[in-house]
């Protein structure tokens, strides 16, 4: 699905990622953990195509194609989805309008016919029920006046409708209370499938209580300093990040 090799990324002259290696196979869930400033958000941004970053070395191959060459909308149409840490508001544009435009641009790219309004509503309403959201959500402007939890749920709704192949969740648990966290996690779990992969970027272990990862990677100072199974997250919860950073510094 995704193969990242020796990836170096800078913002301006400042190196942020310093040689990331990561292999993600279809159906796998990878958690990227790490302290603030370790480069977690940079990684999700560079994979989804946000501007302002320079790749100085290395590569990222997605389904056999050079991911970093593609403009962001092509990545999206090819099935890369970023659930934003801070979803933006778009006043006056209804959720349902954005969703339909997005879905049709993706379908068109994949050589499928556009969905008509009726089929689309049926599809969307099903997903809305799945995520225990109010249908009124659909007709409100994108994220405008939404609470933190509503915004995050809205991201998962978009994911459920667009059915991406590679889902990147950037600090999806931040700002969520425990009930919202449960609903969001259930939404993500319901989307797990053998041909869909997830990259979950998170600071805290608690999200992993609800979405069980196959692999956990610890990012510190722009490098993956330790990789392991789900149990690594529990170890981090107990010991914090400093022992890994110290270990790296002394290595």
């Amino acid at each position: 699905m995704l193969s990242i090799k020796n990836l170096h990324v800078s913002v301006g002259d400042k190196p942020i990622l310093k040689g990331i290696n990561l292999e993600i196979k279809p159906g796998e869930i990878h958690a990227i953990m790490g302290p603030n400033g370790s480069g977690k958000s940079t990684l999700s941004h560079i994979l989804s195509g946000k501007s302002g970053y320079t790749v100085t070395e290395g590569s990222a191959t997605y389904q056999g194609k050079d991911l970093l060459e593609m403009p962001p909308e092509i990545r999206a149409r090819e099935g890369v989805f970023l659930a934003f840490q801070y979803p933006v508001e778009i006043p006056g544009v209804s959720n349902v309008y954005l969703l339909k435009a997005a879905l049709n641009s993706i379908r068109k790219h994949q050589g499928q016919s556009e969905v008509d309004a009726m089929d689309f509503l049926t599809l969307v309403k099903g997903k809305v029920r799945l995520l225990e959201m109010d249908e009124k959500f659909l007709y409100r402007a994108v994220n405008e006046g939404f609470s933190g939890g509503e915004k995050k749920r809205n991201e998962i709704l978009q994911m459920a409708i667009l059915e991406p192949k590679l889902c990147i969740l950037d600090e999806t648990d931040s700002g969520l209370d425990i009930d919202a966290l449960k609903i969001v996690s259930e939404g993500v779990n319901s989307l797990r499938s053998p041909d869909r992969s997830f990259v979950m970027v998170t600071h805290y272990q608690r999200l992993l209580d609800y979405i069980k990862p196959d692999f956990v990677h610890v990012l510190a100072n722009g490098q993956i300093v330790k990789s392991g199974g789900a149990e690594l997250a529990l170890e981090l919860e107990e010991k914090g990040y400093s022992w890994l950073e110290d270990a790296e510094a002394s290595a």
Binding site: P71, F84, A101
Partner: protein, 482 residues
């Protein structure tokens, strides 16, 4: 190059779609303006004597006036002697009696513009008056409207057939001395629409006028007069396009609306005159005076405008709220791209008691364009309990354009309530990236965000126009990102 980049480039290079020229034999005056031209004009239109007097009086007054310089627009002085004041497609002596007699080339031109004049192909329920350069070439559904008692005809025809209405109402809202361009218009106006809705009649269909400038080196001087008698109701739409030329052309219009007691007039404009090329060459100067008099108690006038065309727009559709409890509304979207300039807004003059007005203005600037909102809310001593609400929002696309707001508020009545809200925002990179990450191209994303910004105004437009306006906005923004 990836597919989407290719797509964007194709879109950016798309030309102004209405920019074609129709080759026709015309009857066109030589350029120049003096009293003899006005005599000739009045004669060719077979006008009653009082109209010639009216025109000459206006012309003499205009000669004493100076071109206004207070608007936030820049242009070289206009040489009024280099403009031709009349151009009409040649036709048989009496003019066409039915659509079959209209030059097929003209019918074809309107078809290309998406306005089939053939009633069989019409948009159901919309009557069209088609003004081509200086003359009205066709008015559809006249018969059906006549049955309802509605008069809908070219104003040049009304001058001959309904002189009593013209005498009473023409210039009663915008006097010949009102301003420089209004005085010029009064002297040399050629055609436009005339509407009279009798007492208690609800006009059975939408009325519309489609203005087309075709001939080169001409000015178009449109004059429209709509009278809604007591308790009547009418919705009127206008659309405008012109060919692409390197020279600037002048469109100086005057529109007067009169609403009597309990009457309602809804007036919608989708203005898409040629805006000039991306370097600012050519385009229409759209210098327009539009004003409504809510003369009777409980009357209501609602202006909705979507202004995407013209090199320069100078236009303030206004309401004089004379009648007690009368209501004035102004909903506006003005979009400027490349080197376009717009100075537009409204005036709400509260005279009667309990008069109310609402102003919602959305200005969008892209490229190197300048967009100005200028609005006056005036509450006279007599206007007890008058209320106004103004909302004025500006959206910037890119970092080389400008948005400006000049609100004027004059209140002489202590019981009045006047509210003004204004915002300026920019399409953020985060919004763009978010939309792109959902699969939309940058162009589509901008168009979607802008449409969202304009939603409050678009919902005031009649259905068919709302769709057209959205599409137009998308086209006008092409090339504004990336």
């Amino acid at each position: 190059m990836s597919a989407s980049t290719q797509e964007i480039n194709n879109l950016i290079n798309q030309e102004y779609k209405q920019g074609f020229v129709t080759e026709l034999e015309t009857n066109t005056f030589l350029p120049g303006l003096d009293e003899s031209v006005i005599h000739k004009l009045s004669k060719i239109k077979n006008e009653p004597e009082f109209m010639l007097e009216y025109r000459l009086k206006a012309f003499r007054h205009w000669q004493t006036m100076k071109s206004p310089e207070w608007a936030f627009v820049k242009f070289d002085p206009i040489d009024y002697q280099s403009i031709s004041y009349y151009s009409a497609p040649k036709r048989k002596e009496d003019g066409p009696k039915s659509l079959d007699e209209i030059d097929p080339q003209i019918l074809e031109a309107y078809k290309k513009l998406g306005i089939p004049l053939d009633e069989q192909e019409r948009l159901a329920g919309v009557a069209v008056d088609a003004v081509f350069d200086s003359v009205s070439v066709a008015t559809t559904f006249k018969g059906k409207l006549k049955d309802a008692g509605v008069i809908f005809c070219p104003i040049s025809e009304a001058l001959r057939d309904h002189p009593e209405l013209i005498k009473e109402y023409l210039g009663s809202v915008v006097p010949i001395t009102d301003n420089y361009f209004a005085a010029l218009n009064a002297a040399v106006f050629t055609d436009g629409s005339f509407v009279y809705i009798p007492k208690g009649v609800r006009c059975p269909m939408e009325l519309s006028t489609y203005f087309r400038i075709n001939a080169a080196n001409t000015g178009q001087f449109e004059r429209t007069l709509i009278i809604a008698d007591e308790g009547s109701h009418v919705s009127y739409l206008e659309g405008c396009t012109a060919p692409m030329r390197d020279e600037n052309q002048l469109h100086a219009a005057v529109v007067e609306l009169v609403a009597m007691k309990d009457a309602v007039i809804k007036y919608s404009t989708v203005q898409n005159w040629y805006p000039g090329d991306k370097n600012g060459l050519g385009g229409i100067y759209n210098f327009v005076t539009k004003r409504a008099d809510c003369r009777g108690a409980n009357s209501k006038v609602s202006w909705t405008q979507v202004e995407t065309g013209s090199a320069i727009t100078w236009k303030y559709p206004s309401c004089v709220l004379t009648g007690d409890n009368s209501v004035g509304e102004f909903y506006s979207v003005a979009l400027t791209n490349n080197y376009q300039q717009a100075d537009t807004g409204t005036k709400m003059i509260h005279i009667g008691k309990n008069t109310r007005s609402t102003i919602v203005s959305k200005g969008i600037s892209a490229g190197k364009a300048q967009n100005t909102y200028r609005g006056l809310v005036k509450v006279l001593k007599s206007a007890e309990n008058a209320r106004n609400y103004t909302q004025c929002d500006s959206l910037l696309v890119g970092d080389q354009c400008g948005a400006h707001t000049f609100p004027y508020i004059e209140v002489k009545q202590p019981s009045a309530q006047v509210e003004h809200e204004a915002t300026t925002s920019k399409i953020s990179e985060d919004q763009l990236f978010f939309c792109q990450q959902r699969g939309l191209s940058a162009e589509d994303a901008v168009s979607m965000i802008v449409n969202g910004f304009c939603k409050e105004v678009f919902k005031e437009l009649p259905m068919e126009f709302a769709v057209e306006a959205q599409a137009l906005l998308g086209l006008s923004l092409e090339g504004s990102v990336g």
